[in-house]
Symmetry: C2
Subunit: 257 residues, 2 copies
């Protein structure tokens, strides 16, 4: 039976990354694209509760079809699975994102949030990002996407897990292989540029530099830096289990009035 594949992203349905992803996997099953109408980067795991969500059908001559959604990546996946698609997909692919989703960036990533939403809904889900903002080598990331999609369609993913894939921005022949990694701890260290508008109001632009913090051995960040594709299993249970005993030890007693 033909597999059903849902594609989404956060750069928007008109981005080159989602087109490259479509082309890479279009012959692996019935592919439908449900993605934001506009760019939705760094939206984190946002959902739209207080506004209506518009969905406009899209069909291109090359077979690329689906819906442009006036919402976040998480909205797209929820809406697709719960309302737009006739049946649950066998695989969700989110990407290809322009720019890495490694280290702490993962928690701000719309690309990853689409895949997280898929995992919450019990569907094997993969986020794919390309590790550069300049002269993106979509063909390398597309090759990775196809290989990983085939693997997941064949063997699935562990329960409650999505796969966060980051691809080095190299020619395909220079990629050194795959590495299973953990999420790094490094993050952008913010600088805020303070300005004043013509009316005298203060505003800020957020900017920053990636700072390598602590030991990053075995992380997504180092793997990509060394020319490997990183495969990081991610989940949505945020409990810090190692910290439970410390909180328990407080033995906090409720002070009744």
């Amino acid at each position: 039976m033909k597999k059903r594949i849902l594609i989404s992203n956060d750069d928007g349905i008109h981005s080159p990354g989602i087109q490259a992803l479509y082309e890479a996997v279009k012959d692996l099953g019935d592919v439908i694209v449900v993605a934001p109408a506009g760019e939705q980067s760094a939206v984190g795991h946002a959902i739209t509760l207080s506004d209506p969500i518009k969905a406009r059908p899209i069909a291109r001559p090359d077979g690329f079809h689906g819906f442009a959604v006036g919402g976040t990546p998480a909205d797209c996946v929820k809406l697709a699975v719960c309302a737009l698609l006739p049946e649950k997909p066998d695989l969700i692919l989110s990407g290809i994102n322009l720019g890495p989703n490694t280290g702490i960036s993962v928690i701000y990533s719309g690309t990853v949030s689409a895949a997280t939403e898929g995992a919450i809904l019990g569907i094997p889900s993969v986020a794919i990002s390309l590790g550069s903002y300049q002269t993106p080598r979509w063909e390398t990331a597309a090759r990775v996407a196809r290989q990983v999609a085939q693997q997941v369609l064949r063997g699935g993913l562990p329960p409650d897990t999505l796969l966060n894939v980051n691809v080095p921005n190299l020619p395909a022949k220079s990629v050194r292989g795959y590495r299973t990694t953990r999420m790094g701890r490094s993050r952008f260290v913010e600088k805020f540029d303070r300005r004043t508008d013509p009316q005298g109001n203060v505003y800020y632009w957020m900017d920053g530099d990636l700072e390598l913090l602590g030991d990053e051995d075995g992380t997504d960040i180092i793997a990509v830096r060394e020319g490997y594709v990183s495969l990081t299993p991610i989940w949505f249970d945020l409990t810090h289990r190692a910290a439970l005993p410390a909180v328990k030890k407080w033995n906090l007693k409720w002070r009744k009035p």
Copy 2:
């Protein structure tokens, strides 16, 4: 030395919950409020990169002062710590949120994201939410906020940990105590209400019901339901460590072109 406390939230700087939180802790240190100018619920861990972020000073006769920020809760904490405050705060409190942040809801929560941002910046951070949308008993949640703030100012939090606190919507004398919990697995199961606008365009409203999924013993959801305040240590490392061996076992070989 006087402790510095930063307050934020996602319901906005004019919400009753943040006022109740301010009043509960104002004598515990130098308190400053940096919160969204408008409501920012279910924004997840979004940050504002492509737009300028406005910050307008606010001061009320009761001493409540700080900045109303045209951004998300995560923006507020970043901007406060990196640009607005003269020194790093000793404690960040986010809330009091109207409505619970338990189970899967945690990943959509702006309230929790403000505290997560604090933890990323290395500051002890606490999110406080009240378990009902109707007739909120702010006085109960305020009492909890004060007690937990005192505990954290005294003893800190484990590294890389924020504390997610959920308060049952009961009179203070009926609260049964504190419980250290894990994040539940239950979630809203979405329904989408399909409508057509006067121009014939299709749109959807997202709605849903909380569905108890699987064994929720020991979770935030059950604790609040049974009349306890839940204390859940949360972190920002999303790696699903238990799933690492399964991905490694794929032993995926890179297919060079």
